[in-house]
């Protein structure tokens, strides 16, 4: 549910959490990203970092430079303009994925859970242009919204100790891509050869909140030759 007016909560004495609603909803997330874009665009002395998420924006600041009252006054002045303007569109990125086999060890089980064939799961998963709601968990890991309800699957009962970077997974209504080798509990249905986080690139982090992602099925051979 979207709040009529955003709510402001302290997160310690050097951060404020601005909440726009209490559900995963593109309208709510658009407001988060609009405020995020505005604060980023304006050189705000005293703001040290910003963390956008599904329905909230965390603003970290130094109260010696920017008082809490001044920050709150500025924010309240922003409320009327939010949600109305067409938010700047992020870029659309096509992510090649090889589904199944050793790259997607849970694909068969996910298919069986939903009474489908693996091919049907792949078709449904790759048909949607997903919205990046936020990046979190590890550098570059996107939380993607828009997964077909027919594919909603709970997390694995026991998380894996190591999920390889590039793994594409499903957890409840979310889909995402592991950006680093890490422990993980998502249902793994495929893997991408694309690096979401690569320090040798000029832009190490491929995706940001507000971008959109389309998965494109590729063969194992295409994966190897990528």
């Amino acid at each position: 549910m979207e709040y009529e007016l955003p709510k402001i909560f302290p997160c310690g004495d050097q951060a404020l959490s601005i909440e726009f609603g209490d559900s995963i909803d593109p309208k709510i997330n658009r407001k988060v990203l609009q405020l995020f874009d505005r604060l980023r665009a304006r050189p705000f002395q005293g703001i040290t970092d910003l963390i956008p998420s599904y329905r909230a924006l965390l603003i970290q600041y130094d109260p010696r430079i920017l008082s809490t009252e001044d920050l709150k006054t500025f924010l309240r002045g922003q409320w009327p303009g939010l949600g109305q303007a067409i938010s700047p569109q992020g870029k659309i990125i096509t992510i090649p994925v090889h589904y199944g086999g050793s790259f997607g060890p849970d694909l068969v089980e996910v298919a069986e859970t939903h009474g489908m064939t693996p091919a049907e799961v792949i078709a449904l998963h790759s048909a949607v242009t997903y919205r990046v709601y936020m990046i979190g968990f590890t550098p570059g890991f996107p939380f993607l919204g828009g997964l077909d309800p027919r594919l909603h699957t709970p997390r694995k009962k026991s998380p894996r100790e190591k999920v390889p970077a590039g793994s594409v997974g499903i957890a409840d209504q979310q889909t995402g891509i592991y950006s680093l080798d890490s422990p993980g509990g998502w249902q793994l249905i495929g893997r991408t050869p694309v690096k979401l986080f690569d320090l040798s690139r000029e832009e190490p982090l491929l995706l940001g909140a507000g971008d959109r992602v389309l998965f494109q099925p590729i063969t194992e051979k295409e994966f190897e030759n990528y």
């Binding site: 909560f9 004495d13 559900s23 995963i24 970092d49 968990f137 590890t138």
Partner: protein, 310 residues
């Protein structure tokens, strides 16, 4: 230029500065010194910028040889330390000559010791910071903890620095600290009984602590509805209450977002207390207002600024 060579690295020593800022929206943790105030003071003693990179030596057990002469300072958890045969103290500038050896015993007073070297540690910055992010394997010294045989370079020394930091400006560490907190952002998700418990009961720091966070054990803190929230941003000192009702205090390498209820966050001026707490120690929480929390922070920073001017 090559300045110090590691002989015994101790359980976990990493290069850290005051953190990697501006990339948390992309999932990149801040990292940096867990006890930032101690690192800042060490840097000021040796004449560095406050935010210069130093070594975070967890629990001591350190031995190193100085390959070049350099001024250094030890701050953080006071431990028995020697330069060759001579005992050296914390919070003061010490001159090392080429060939000198620095020994730091296993620390009994606190978790983290900081070694600041004049000129700072010369490692390539990654995304604007020299801090090590261990999970990601980047930053600091080759993205990892130091090992025997590693050699570190220092930059050119800047200024003379200070002979020592007076007692009144050093952090007031405590064996069994009371951490002042500001409630929120999800304190409303905690049952009334849970809030009373949190504000009154003692919690013990378990051995499950690292640069990401520390887990406490004690009376269960209950939720109104459940422990899960729609993931949102975290800060240093944020206190999560997962399903088992046992608090987790988030530290430097914490994930940028989290899906557990956050009942409160430790106030900035008390961050050194949690940075130094050892397993087995008792911790209590005291809820304070935002204004009071910030006032303490302003007082500390003003006192430091006044001292530096004089």
């Amino acid at each position: 230029m090559r300045t110090i060579r590691v002989i015994k690295p101790g359980p976990l020593t990493t290069v850290q500065d005051l953190g990697r800022w501006g990339f948390q929206d992309r999932g990149v943790p801040v990292s940096g010194a867990v006890d930032q105030y101690a690192l800042r003071l060490g840097n000021l003693i040796v004449g560095n910028r406050e935010g210069e990179a130093g070594l975070e030596i967890t629990l001591g057990g350190w031995e190193a040889e100085f390959v070049q002469e350099v001024s250094f300072a030890l701050t953080g958890a006071e431990s028995a330390a020697r330069l060759n045969e001579e005992e050296v103290g914390f919070w003061r500038r010490i001159a090392a000559s080429k060939g000198d050896r620095l020994f730091i015993d296993h620390s009994r007073t606190g978790a983290r010791i900081y070694l600041a070297l004049a000129g700072g540690i010369a490692v390539p910055p990654v995304m604007g910071s020299k801090s090590t992010y261990l999970r990601g394997g980047f930053g600091g010294y080759q993205g990892r903890a130091l090992r025997k045989g590693d050699s570190l370079d220092c930059g050119p020394a800047r200024e003379a620095g200070l002979p020592e930091i007076p007692l009144g400006l050093r952090p007031a560490y405590s064996d069994h600290p009371t951490l002042r907190v500001v409630l929120g952002p999800q304190d409303e998700e905690i049952a009334d009984q849970g809030l009373s418990t949190f504000r009154a009961a003692p919690y013990v720091l378990t051995p499950q602590m690292d640069r990401m966070g520390c887990r406490l054990e004690g009376p269960r803190i209950t939720h109104r509805r459940g422990p899960d929230i729609i993931s949102d941003g975290t800060s240093f000192g944020s206190i999560q209450i997962p399903g088992n009702g046992q608090p987790i205090i988030l530290l430097a390498d914490r994930q940028t977002t989290g899906g557990y209820v956050k009942i409160a966050a430790v106030i900035a001026v008390d961050w050194p207390l949690i940075a130094q707490a050892l397993p087995g120690r008792t911790i209590r929480f005291e809820a304070v207002g935002l204004a009071e929390a910030q006032k303490s922070y302003f007082q500390r920073e003003s006192a430091l600024a006044r001292f530096l001017k004089s």
